[in-house]
Amino acid sequence: MKIGSVVGTVVSTINAPVFDDRKLLLCDIVDPDGTPSGGYLIAVDVVGAGTGETVLIIDEGNSARQIVGLDTAPIRAVVVGIVDEVDIGG
């Protein structure tokens, strides 16, 4: 999984059916210390995360399909948690 920082949202009306009525979040990928590492993902939100929050993102198809309950959906990235704290090196 990856740590992300929610920076915005993406809205669409013409999309694959799996994205109907789902919130898409624009997330910067960040290092454990919160520094943006350069990339970003558009991820489906299943936890009610919002802009400014640090989140946990799964970027793997089988897991994503399991979460949305559709075994033939074109989906990979899902926000699966809201991060309270990251501690490195104790």
Binding site: V11, N15, A16, F19, L24, G61, I75
Partner: protein
């Protein structure tokens, strides 16, 4: 998924079985500020309605084929949504 701008189309009469009827578009990947990011890719149109000039989002790797009617096909990028609005 990532943002992209449709910049062209690809027509291929001779294709591997399973790709018949699949529309292929040239998509320039964009960063989240909608600036070009990397090299253009050929993406299957999973929404059947995308066209040149449109802002879309694209799923990559194995999941791309899941956007098509026949899911056991050799496709590595697919357009799965046409963007109405991005914030910021």
């Amino acid at each position: 998924m990532q943002l992209g701008r449709v910049i062209g189309t690809v027509v291929a009469s001779v294709k591997t079985p399973g790709l018949d009827g699949v529309k292929f578009l040239i998509v320039q990947p964009l960063d989240r500020r909608r600036e070009p990011w990397g090299r253009p890719v050929v993406a299957a149109d999973g929404v059947h309605m995308a066209g040149p000039g449109e802002l879309v989002y694209v799923v990559g790797s194995r999941e791309a084929a899941q956007a098509l009617p026949n899911t056991f096909v050799p496709v590595d990028h697919a357009i799965v949504g046409i963007v109405d609005e991005v914030t910021p």
